[in-house]
Symmetry: none
Subunit: 226 residues, 2 copies
DNA sequence: GGAAAAGATTAAGAAATGTTTAAGCCCGGA
DNA sequence: TCCGGGCTTAAACATTTCTTAATCTTTTCC
């Protein structure tokens, strides 16, 4: 969970940004001028700042110069101006990026993500590495699988099959498809092989492998995860 | 003196950028497609890359994905496209910034300056130079490692491997990944080599190397630190 | 209901992956 | 030049996982 400080004198913009950022999984702090922003920084661990340039009281550029004396998290300027001079001033003063209002929220989020990634580089806990299907959780970075919170240990082939099915819950994969995707090879007479691995998988992730809750068969079609 | 790699299939753009950047005091290297860019990176210390998205041969996005496996200098995409989707794709794939052609050279230089400043001065990663994983402490500034408070002496290769794993505790790294990250080279048949270093590491940081507490193997997947 | 097809189960040998040891190479310092 | 630390390679060994094939069970459909 990363924390973003949003600083803008326009309360509507602040609350709009807060909605976007919160929806994207960030913890959001707010300030309405440069001085408030500095106060918030003293009290909290902030990973990125969205800073308006034109604010009453202490403006964005002054605030940035001041905060750079003590902090080095990425700062993205948000401003209504779009002339080159402002961009250049902002970047030279120590900003990491610059977006102009009215901004596309999706682009803004992408830039926020990009800056935080660089800042926390190799922090290596990409949220998208955890895939969930029912009570099955797959952490692809750790190659770890939990069912009902309990960790189960899978072989590489079992893991690959589960990952394939869990990435598209409900979708039915024929044994030939599974073989092609997991083995990266043409299926010759691979149905039996796949069946054995499915059995092993069920033994590990199902309470009663004979009556699977998750890894179901669709007769004549293939297997799917519910 | 910082070195910038300019990569674009349009020779006119490359030479124009080279003129701007050289005038601003940068050392400039050039490449005309993604593959060439990767070759240049192997041979030179590059501080920033200006990368075109649309190139024949290996395109910019593929090149970025590839080079991010081994390098972490800032990358700015330069492209004729200006739609949001491209901006978002580029940033999500690991770019640090994005400018659209035709670009204002002064703005471009400001963005280059901004990225290089963050990369070289502000420290790309959070200031913590001591990394901890369980009872393992790594002081990256001093290149010193302590286990249970006791200092152990590692060779450079062992140190690099430990650092890689300890920076992302729980994350599984395949021998090929480890080789790529530590040796900055393509793994050919490097599994045995990695295995031997893992063994030496275990001998130094584990009480019983045969029953490792920290440096564990995940069968068929790779190694991780707990 | 019964035959045929699809899937499940089992066990054992084969193959892949990891570990350990040892020897030789390379390079920098004495 | 010699020495020694560190790296790589190879080989033997240990362990885990995969595949195969035979047999059993379930489902489908006539």
């Amino acid at each position: 969970m990363y924390t973003v400080l949003v600083c803008d004198d326009d309360k509507d913009i602040v609350s709009a940004l807060k909605i976007y950022l919160t929806a994207d999984g960030y913890n959001v702090l707010t300030a309405y001028n440069g001085r408030e922003a500095l106060d918030v920084l003293k009290e909290n661990e902030v990973h990125l700042i969205l800073l308006d340039i034109m604010m009453p009281g202490m403006d964005g550029v002054s605030a940035l110069v001041k905060l750079r004396e003590a902090y080095n998290m990425p700062v993205i300027f948000t401003t209504a101006k779009s002339e080159d001079n402002d961009i250049i001033l902002g970047l030279n003063v120590g900003a990491d990026d610059y977006v102009t209002k009215p901004f596309n929220p999706v682009e803004l989020l992408a830039r926020v993500r990009s800056q935080i990634r660089r800042y926390t580089r190799l922090g290596a806990k990409p949220a998208e590495s955890v895939i969930t299907a029912g009570a099955i959780e797959i952490d692809d970075a750790a190659k770890a699988v939990r069912v009902d919170g309990e960790e189960v240990s899978l072989t590489p082939t079992e893991y690959d099959i589960l990952l394939l099915l869990a990435r598209a819950p409900g979708k039915v994969f024929s044994p030939a498809e599974i073989y092609r995707e997991v083995w990266h090879d043409e299926p010759y007479s691979a149905d039996a092989t796949v069946a054995v691995h499915i059995r092993h998988l069920r033994e590990k992730i199902e309470i009663d492998p004979a009556k699977p809750r998750y890894l179901k068969v669709v007769w004549g079609q293939g297997y799917k995860i519910n």
